[in-house]
Structures are given as C-alpha cells and as structure tokens.
Amino acid sequence: MDALEVVEILVFPGLTFFVWLAFVFEWLDRKTTARMQGRIGPMLAGPRGILQPVADFFKLTSKEEIVPQFSDKLVFEWGPPFFFAAPAIGTIFIPVVGLNAIVSSPYDLLFILFVLAFSTLMAGMLGYASAGRFSTISIGRLVLQYASFEIPLLLAIVSPAVAAGNLSISGIVQAQSNFHWFVFVVPIGFAVFIVSSLAELEKPPFDIPDAKTEIAAGWMTEFSARPLAYVKLTESLSYVFLSALAASLFLGGTAGPVLTNVTILQDGIYLAYFLIKVFAIGFAIFAIKTALARVRINQAANLFWTVLTPLSLLQLGIVILLR
C-alpha cells in the first residue's frame, strides 16, 4: 500500500469525503423535511444552515460524558467507534471517481452484507451495554426488525450481482456503463432495496427502534456527548453509504449515460454522476420518510415477510431466468 492509497482511503474519496458528505446529507435531510412540513429548517449555522450538523457534532464532542452505573463500560465507551467503523469501511468499496473503487475484490458484496449486519449488531450491543429500560425494549424491536428486513435486503443486493455476474461493486458498476442500468433490469429489487434501507436506517415508517414518542430515544437514550456524536454521525454516514450503494448497484454509480469517454476532467464527470445519483436517492428517501407515519413492529415484520421477501425472491428468479 503506497502513500497515495492511504490518502485516498483517509481523505478523498475515502473517509473524510464521506463524512462531509454525511454532514451535507443530514443537512439536506433536515432542510427537505422542513420544507415539506412548511418550515424552513436550520438557518443560522453557516449559509442556509448548512453547517448545522457540524455544529451539532462538535457541540456533542465538547460535552460531559455520562456512563450509566449498570452499563457494560467497555462496550459502552468503545462501541461507538466500532459502530462508526462499519459504514466507514463499507464506503471504500464504492467507486466515486472512475469505475473502480479504492479497494476492490471479487467478493465485495459479501463484505458489504457483513457490514450491514455488523452495524445492526453493534447498535444492539450498544443498546444492551447501556442497560436502560428503554434501550432494552428498543433492542428487542431492533433485532426483530433486522430479522425481518435482512432477507429482502440481501436478495435485493444479490439481484444486480446476478445480473452482472459479478460480486464486486466495481464490477457491477462497470457492467452498467453505456446506460445499462440495473434499475431497468431489476426494478422490483431496487424498490425492495429502498424500502429495506429505510428499515436499516431506522427512518419512518420503520423508525420503530428509536420511536421517540414511545421509548424515548430508543437504544440511544443513555448516550451522551462523544459516544452520541459518533452514533449520530454513523447514522448519517449509513444514510450516505446506503444511498451510494443503491446508486452503484442499480443506477450505474459513476457510469453515466453520456460523456463517458471525454479526455479532460473525466474524474470530475464521474464524481458528478455519482453525486447526482446519490442525492437523487437521498431525496427519494427523505420524501418517503417525511410522508409516512410510523408502523408497529408486527406490521413492519408482516410487510417484510409477506410482501417484500416474496417480491425479492420473484425478482431474483426473473433475473436468473433472464441471464
């Protein structure tokens, strides 16, 4: 590994880039939600309030840390960085400039699936470690929800891989160049992926594990200061990560319909395509989450098991037959 790769992983288009993207996403989320609700959203922090998530983050890091007495202190204190690491590592498998990611292997998707599972597992561990009553209830819901959406999510991710005949994200992106976007090949898989991402992100209508009017702040109730800052940042980063994953798997990622072979500024065009697609998916998620109420956990489980799982299986079958 040479120095350039380290810079790529840590700065651009790796960690730092994605963290700032996460802040922008969070801001866009709040702004879009506010606009849809008839408000204007954050205004004071930075121009049009764009620095609001940054302010939240730095404020949290400067606060006092409180560790509950009966908590598992090791996990409680050291868990949040690991929780943060899951989507952070996942992002380096996603091509941002060019058709190849920083790190690419033939088995990318297996690792991505592991990251998604690990992130939920970590949330569960953090919740249990804090040993609060609300957290415990919340973790019950989290695990149940995870058990429901995991299968459809997995099948939805596998569909484009089957279509591309490749388990590498870079490979899948390359297979979609020349406007062969998989959203046209596996539309149901795309829809299932978006719905499952809402559940993975704990956004309405699946914000069941941190339903604030039922169980306070869910599994995050006991966290304060720096751990909370990490947890919040991880949530936004997961947001970006899942949007980027959806963009790469279904919308061709960095591969655009036109201007695919210019000599100058090729990287800039790749980046532009990538960002446009990520924000498009982000806006879709913002809109869905703002327009819906929270469902109950059993209703969510019903939806995933009786509707989305068969649908994604059907999609997978169609893709296999088409190939």
């Binding site: 939600t33 008839g38 009553r133 039922e214 306070a216 720096r226 109420a293 929270r294 109950r296 209703q299």
Partner: protein, 420 residues
C-alpha cells in the same frame, strides 16, 4: 386475565375483541415493568403509567396520576369570585375558556342573571373557536405520537389561524380571560366578521383535506384502526364523556341536551361514530371541527346587538348550583356553594379527563407498547385538568406497588464520570 388482573377495579370491563394476554405466569418482575412517564416525550405533561409488559404486549397498566396536583379547589376558597375566574382558567391551558364559562354560568345561576343575548352569542363563538383549536391540536398530536411529524406540523400551522382569531377577539392566545360574571369583558372588535369568515372557509377547507388524509394515509390507518376499542356497553358503565363517548355511538352532548349560552338558538348537530377506535376518533373530531365552523358562522350571522355585560355584584347570595358545559374533551362539571359573601365555600370541578381516564386505562390492556401513545391520545388526555385534585393508582397488589420508584431508580442509578 389472571387473578391479579381481576382484582384490579377496571379489568372486568375489558372488550372481548382485544387480544387475549396471559398474565398467569407473570411475576411482575422489574424487567417487565415499563415506566411510561412521569416525563415522557409522548406526554407533554408529567404522568406516570407503569406498564406491565409481556414482550411488547401490555398485561396491565397502572397509572399514577397527581403530578400536576396543585390544590386549586382549596385555593379557590380563599379567593374572591372574580379572582377565581382567572384561577380556574389556569387549570388547563387548552380548554381555559370552557372552565371559566362553566364557572361564571354557575354563578349567574345563583345570581339569577339574564345574560345579554350578544354576550351569549360571543361566548358561543369563542367556545367553538376553542373547540376547533383543541381538536386541531389533538389531530396534530396524533400525528406526532404516531411518528407522522408532517401531519403535526401542517395541522399546527393551520391552527395558528384559529389562534389569531382568538387573539383578535379576546386579546390572548391561550388563557383568554374573556369571561366575566354577567357576560364577556369586551365586545367583539370591529370588522371581525370578515376575518372570521375568511379563516373559517380556510379551516373548513383544510380540515376536509385532513379528514380525507387520515382516513387514506395507509401507515396512519394501520396504526389507529381497531386500536383502543371501546363498545357502547362499557362506555355506558364507565361514563366517559365527550368524543370518546360519542365515538361509541352514544350521542350525548351537553350543548344539545342541556343548552347553555346561546346553544338553544344555535343548535349543533351531534356527530357520532360507531367504531369506537382511535381511527374513528380522528374522523369524528374532524367532523366536529367542521360543525364548529358552521356554528361560528351561524352565530356571526344571527348576532344581535346590545350590551355584552351587566354590572355584577361582588358578592354572591347564599346558594348552590351545579353547571356543566361541553368542553372540547367532553362534559366539564362545576358545582359551587356560596355561603353568601365574596368568596365561595366550595367549588367542585370534574374535568373530562377525570371521567375518561378510567376508560382509557381499561382500553390499554392487550395492546402493544407502540399503541400506548395512540390509545392514551385517544381520550385526549389533559392531565393539567384532571390533576387539579386527583391521583389514583389502580393497584392493590403490594408486591408490585412500586410507586414511582422505577423512574427514580433510573435516575439515581447513574453516576457520572467526567471525561472532558
């Protein structure tokens, strides 16, 4: 239900349609006790519900109410009749006009006053505006409680229009201080009818939209339909009041059965629904808002001219009177005894929430934790009202009578490590 459940005074009234829960093996261990309050994001008022859970299913709900107990009924005995108007308004920030309305009309009953007709019409207008604002507040909070923040924001945005009208008429947004013995303190402002008509048209338009929305929006419908079900027989037994009662199909409304103010001339149409669940309460309350809009426009049209108040004496002759009005949440009951003097001897207030809470507690059982906010919202709780004097705990079993210790431990058991 287990023996324990049957001992609870309200478990006998359980509806049969609910999911059966087995409480037999439950030891009510601390792990199964779920504190819901006293300070809980779903309740903007401190209330404490101990929920005995089996997984997510509620086996028993034990309310501990009285966190807002201030002792107003005792305080009223030391204050003059006029001062008490403003004291009673501050029992509740949502239905403050209804409180003062009931109180002054009870006094007017003893004084045998004939309140000027214009004042009675103005009272109807403000009371109906208050009903609109309260119902819209509730509709919005249902959105908030079911995680549908957009609905909350939209409805509260439109509610501001009603508050503007209330402010224009009475001078205040929340505690209106508008009623006085023998009438209202000031006349309607000039040229108010135009804004009222305009805003009523707007509100009617919006409420029709929301009524449509809440019955169509799928996620909201699945959260509210069949939740918090109560049948007419139970309702008759437990005597709830207001929309909660009317949602079971019993058309009981003080405004029509025992007209006060000008409701004998502006006759409301009592809306009912037969479902008895939270979904039907949503549409029922939207219907009531539309009806209120109609009443306001009608009152404005038929508004007579004349004085708005008489000169009222400072003291009230010896006597007693019971009076009730239809507050937004239901029948609001006042009973006053005058010893003949400038202070009352006894003022008894029974607020709608007090009448409804027994029903609501029995409604909770068998539903899941996720339903609690929705079910409790169903009765439109106003603990500020209820707690002026009451506390209760549906709990006789010593071994699990923990008395608010849960949340306290939750607070005590944490120590701090400074790491800055």
């Amino acid at each position: 239900m287990s023996d324990k459940g049957n001992n609870s005074p309200i478990s006998g009234e359980e509806g049969s349609a609910k999911r059966e829960v087995s409480a037999g093996l439950m030891q009510y261990s601390p792990e199964n006790l779920m504190p819901f309050g006293p300070v809980h994001p779903a309740l903007h008022e401190p209330e404490y519900f101990k929920l005995i859970l089996e997984g997510e299913v509620i086996v028993d709900a034990i309310p501990r109410i009285g966190f807002v107990h201030r002792g107003i009924e005792r305080a009223a005995q030391d204050r003059t009749w006029i001062k008490n108007i403003y004291l009673f308004e501050r029992i509740c920030g949502i239905c403050s006009f209804a409180h003062s309305l009931s109180y002054v009309q009870a006094i007017e009953g003893i004084l045998q006053f004939e309140v000027p007709k214009r004042a009675r019409y103005i009272r109807v207008i403000v009371a109906e505006l208050e009903r609109i604002h309260s119902h819209m507040l509730w509709l919005g909070l249902v959105g908030y409680w079911t995680g549908f923040d957009t609905l909350f924001m939209w409805i509260w945005k439109d509610r501001e229009h009603v508050l503007d009208l209330i402010e224009a008429i009475t001078g205040n947004r929340v505690h209106k201080s508008y009623n006085t013995i023998s009438g209202v303190r000031k006349d309607l402002p000039e040229n108010i009818s135009e804004p009222i008509k305009r805003e009523m048209a707007y509100i009617q338009d919006r409420i029709r939209y929301y009524r449509d929305l809440v019955s169509r929006e799928e996620t909201l419908v699945v959260r509210t339909r069949g939740i918090g079900k109560i049948d007419a027989e139970t309702a008759r037994k437990l005597c709830p009041v207001g929309p909660l009662l009317r949602s079971t199909g019993i058309a009981r409304d003080v405004r029509t059965e025992d007209p006060y103010a000008a409701y004998d001339e502006i006759v409301p149409e009592v809306k009912t629904s037969s479902q008895g669940d939270v979904a039907s309460l949503l549409t029922l309350r939207a219907d009531e808002v539309l009806e209120s809009c109609r009443l306001i426009l009608l009152a404005l049209e038929k508004m007579p001219s004349g004085p708005t108040k008489l000169t009222a004496p400072r003291s009230v002759p010896k006597g007693e009177n019971a009076f009730h009005v239809e507050a937004p949440r239901g029948e609001l009951f006042y009973y006053i005894r005058s010893p003949g003097g400038i202070t009352p001897e006894r003022v008894k207030i029974r607020t709608p929430t007090m009448a409804n809470v027994l029903t609501a507690t029995s409604m909770l059982k068998g539903y899941t934790l996720a339903d609690v906010p929705v079910v409790l919202t169903g009765m439109d709780p106003c603990f500020g009202c209820m707690d002026r004097i009451s506390v209760f705990e549906v709990d006789k079993e010593k071994q699990w009578s923990v008395r608010g210790e849960d949340l306290r431990q939750y607070g005590i058991s944490h120590y701090k490590t400074k790491k800055l």
